[in-house]
Assembly symmetry: C2
Homo-oligomer: 564 residues x 2
């Protein structure tokens, strides 16, 4: 059965369609509709009357969310936009898919009328601060010495001790090359601690002096002001299965574009993450990101462009043992604030037990029962006694049906940071992609002391890709880079296994590292073409294209194929 | 049955007692204990392993709360501290009492080791900013041009785009007279929009230049930096009945001291709100505050001192009609952000329907059903058709068993703003109290356009109180003041009724207003003594002690009794 949103009052007339969509989704559920279609047009979504629930979204921000498309407990439904634009206004989450299955998203774009980041043109700087001209489309105010980005609406009533103005809070800055539409060469993020706005003075019109020592940049370049939250990712997929995206465009999101957690089988094909309205930034964080997922993750024929972080990261989560409460029980703690509430242990779950500093898995166990203390701590009892040498600071992660990953035919360019973070133990193939990213194009991460992301590939093929002048920034040591957080026992820890890199083309502007690896067992490099360019100035970098340490079974066939 | 916290592992040993208290409360519930006692000592509470739930707290801030004493569904229990000190650390709510009855709190004090506000001594100022020396006990950092108050702990790891430092956010400033330990004469609040910290530069040591134009103050006075939230009120009483406080001291709270909502019968006797550790401020908002309560509210023999807002406010909440959805149904909206989630309508509830601008009640109705859309909006259907002339912007409030209020024998002094906000339709008696407050000592409020607080007394006696040099600040037009938000039809609106003021002593430092009233029906003033002092400089104020407009049945017997 096909339902049409028009029949529920959703019309491309500029009015808020949130209530109509809620009714339409309810009808789909009740009537078992397989398609919900939108007559082509622009649809608008406001938070005022949106459904609301508290949600924990890994690597984004938890909170009491207003949701335009609250898709909970829905089975076998295609949302077909028929080429429509969905425009979101203000503090609203576009899509949350929870405990659903067989969901397809097709033929629409999403955007926010006011982006969660802001942009300005650099006019100049000195020791005391920087002058910028804030671009049209990014409303702001300078109030009592503070630059605050706003929604452009007038404040309601006077300020009081309990005022809550609608501020687009920002706490970090990053310079972009205005012409090239990418992060400026070798630029660093400029971070602040938990601020909403910046010390500043209005010069005139949209010209503002940011009164912060240490700011630098090139006149004419674009300074991006990143949001101090990831509250509004585009699509959240949680505890669901069989989710597909086809011909979906994400122009903006206040967080990641697509975030999948504890979800089985996700396909993103022929989709685009790309800025709109002349903006420099699309999603304000990763284009896609998958946490403790299973089954398969397929990213094919997509364009991931100008997102303010990586194109993808596929990983699990480690919890840290903070207390032994019995021979068979411990209290474990989620450590990274954007992992809080990420419950992945249930009776019957299998976990690996990993040394916190060496990342060596030294035991496994089966969960008997869990007692959730709060979003950060859980007491877990196992079916058998834990190893005697279990230490406070060791970590646990789920052993699961690690997803088979296919990343093929994608274009990844002009984003901040890295291309693909491959931290998945399922078979992982990265082929026929084009990368032009300022950090490592491929990064193998995983650590148990800062991000607490479970990684470690077991079977990873990287072939027939073009790495076009990557790593022109600070977010990587090599174009293909290992950054696993192994602090002890590097001599014996072998966190990543069986990586084959072949048939790729590396266009490079200097003799920086192509490959940096350590604690790898099984690494093959062959038939990769290296082409020298003059795309960027050469840097003082470690010489020699390969740096491999503490690894076994490494075969590197240097410089085969054509080298221009 | 009496249970002892020591038996659950709570010991005055400096270690976190949160888990022990959770276990003890659970045991009280299961075993039907009537007392939970603490051997005298200091007990410490940390948020790490505290129970957690989302809670809406009227006139404070909603959120996912960690709670040291989560008292939900408990009946007939006395918490007897036997003179103990309860010290809370960091971001934790001391007490939340929810759907409980017959709860007594006795013989203990609560405090936070780090207060949610901060204090500094004023060193000087000019057009560009102010120099202050931040007092010991209020940790801070100046990072990249921003003064941020902190918990004094070292940051964990480097800053990233998703860092969440433990900041004690602040967004308003207020000057205090260091010697008198009260708000500086005629000082104004200095508000910012949604900031966490202030533009600033470190001078040296604890000396900081706050780079904000317009700051003024007296050298040597204390500048208080108010928190930008009310997340951590001391005691929250919600949907409960028969709650008593006796010999409880509140040294600090990150919000109100005691907040009661939808609760029946509350007694606060022989309690103290008073700063500790040389701080200028106790609770960072009202000492007590009661919303949509019923039965009785009794405040007797207490000291309410140096709280950063009123001593009490007893009121209801108006929701605004934003849409008519049928002849018998409307969508109503909570308007003030700190009222969101305040659900007070249920099938069978009676409501008054009030013109938004005149505050005239023109109809009543009975609720048939409610459909909560989100924390701000609810669709309400009534048992009968609504009046034809119901308008968007009209408001609804609950008709209930308005509490009988007794406020007797209390000392209220050195707080910010007002003494008592009397907005309750039950019999209200305020007698034998001592007031030394910088605003109105007694304020009759209520409006439907800004705070949306339902007020309007019906039977209010104010007798035998001492008003000692009140209203030396900006928070009132008169010592006994009406500030109801009546924007239309003042000629016929009579929002407050039957106020009698007699037998009181007014010590006054100038000829400012003793009484300001409008839209009152029934106002008697007699046998009040006025004594002139030289406590503060005289101001340019409206002459004559009384200003009464648009009122009926007003009897003022001027200047009877002794006038020095």
């Amino acid at each position: 059965m096909v339902l049409n949103v028009a029949d529920f009052g959703a019309l491309p007339d500029g009015k808020d369609d949130t209530r109509a969509i809620k009714a339409a989704l309810q009808a789909c559920k009740e009537q078992g509709a397989t398609q919900l279609v939108f007559p082509k047009g622009r649809y608008d979504f406001h938070p005022d009357f949106a459904e609301e629930f508290y949600f924990f979204i890994s690597n984004n921000d938890e909170g009491l969310k207003r949701v335009a498309f609250p898709m909970r407990g829905i089975e076998n439904l295609t949302i077909d936009g028929r080429g429509s634009e969905f425009i979101f206004h203000g503090f609203i989450n576009p899509f949350i898919v929870d405990r659903s299955s067989g969901i397809s998203f097709r033929n629409f774009s999403i955007d926010f009328d006011r982006s969660f980041h802001s942009e300005a043109i650099i006019l100049g700087y000195d020791d005391e601060g920087m002058d910028v001209e804030i671009r049209e489309g990014f409303p702001f105010t300078v109030h009592r010495g503070v630059l605050l980005f706003t929604d452009g609406q007038k404040d309601e009533g006077p300020l009081t001790t309990v005022s809550k103005a609608n501020i687009y809070g920002s706490n970090h800055m990053l310079e972009y090359d205005t012409e090239k539409r990418e992060t400026a060469y070798m630029v660093k993020d400029f971070y602040f601690k938990n601020i909403n706005g910046y010390p500043a003075k209005l010069i005139e019109g949209r010209k503002v002096r940011i009164r912060v020592p240490g700011l630098e940049g090139t006149v004419g370049n674009t300074m991006a002001f990143g949001p101090n939250h990831r509250n509004y990712p585009g699509f959240v997929l949680s505890d669901s299965r069989d989710i597909e995206f086809s011909n979906v465009t994400i122009h903006h999101a206040g967080g990641m574009g697509i975030l999948g957690q504890r979800t089985d089988n996700i396909t993103v094909d022929n989709c685009t993450v790309v800025p709109s309205q002349g903006r420099m930034i699309s999603a304000t964080a990763d284009a896609t990101h998958f946490v403790n997922c299973t089954g398969s993750i397929t990213l094919t024929n997509n364009v991931f462009e100008n997102q303010k972080d990586d194109a993808t990261n596929i990983h699990g989560i480690y919890v840290q043992v903070v207390e032994k409460t019995g021979s068979d029980s411990v209290i474990v703690q989620l450590k990274h604030a954007q992992q809080f509430g990420f419950d992945f242990m249930h009776p019957g779950s299998e976990v690996e037990i990993v040394r916190g500093k060496s990342m060596i898995t030294f035991a496994t166990a089966t969960v008997k029962s869990v007692d959730r203390i709060n979003k950060q701590n859980t007491e877990v009892t196992f079916t058998e006694a834990l190893p005697d040498d279990l230490r406070i600071g060791d970590t646990l992660a789920e052993i699961r049906d690690y997803p088979e990953v296919l990343i093929s035919g994608n274009t990844i360019r002009n984003n901040r940071a890295r291309g693909m973070l491959l931290n998945c133990r399922g078979k992982t193939v990265v082929e026929n992609n084009y990368f032009h990213v300022p950090g490592a194009a491929i990064l193998f991460e995983g650590d148990a002391h800062f991000w607490f992301e479970q990684g470690g590939v077991r079977d990873c093929v990287i072939r027939n890709n073009i790495f076009d002048n990557c790593n022109f920034g600070i977010w990587g040591k090599a174009i293909i880079d290992v950054k696993a957080g192994i602090l002890e026992d590097k001599e014996i820890s072998r966190y990543n296994e069986n990586i084959r890199v072949y048939g790729n083309t590396f266009r490079v502007f200097d003799e920086g590292l192509l490959l940096n690896a350590y604690c790898v067992d099984g690494l093959t490099w062959k038939d990769n073409k290296i082409i020298k360019t003059d795309a960027y100035p050469e840097r003082e970098t470690p010489k020699g294209p390969f740096q491999v340490m503490h690894s076994d079974n490494v075969k590197i066939e240097r410089y085969t194929g054509n080298e221009d």
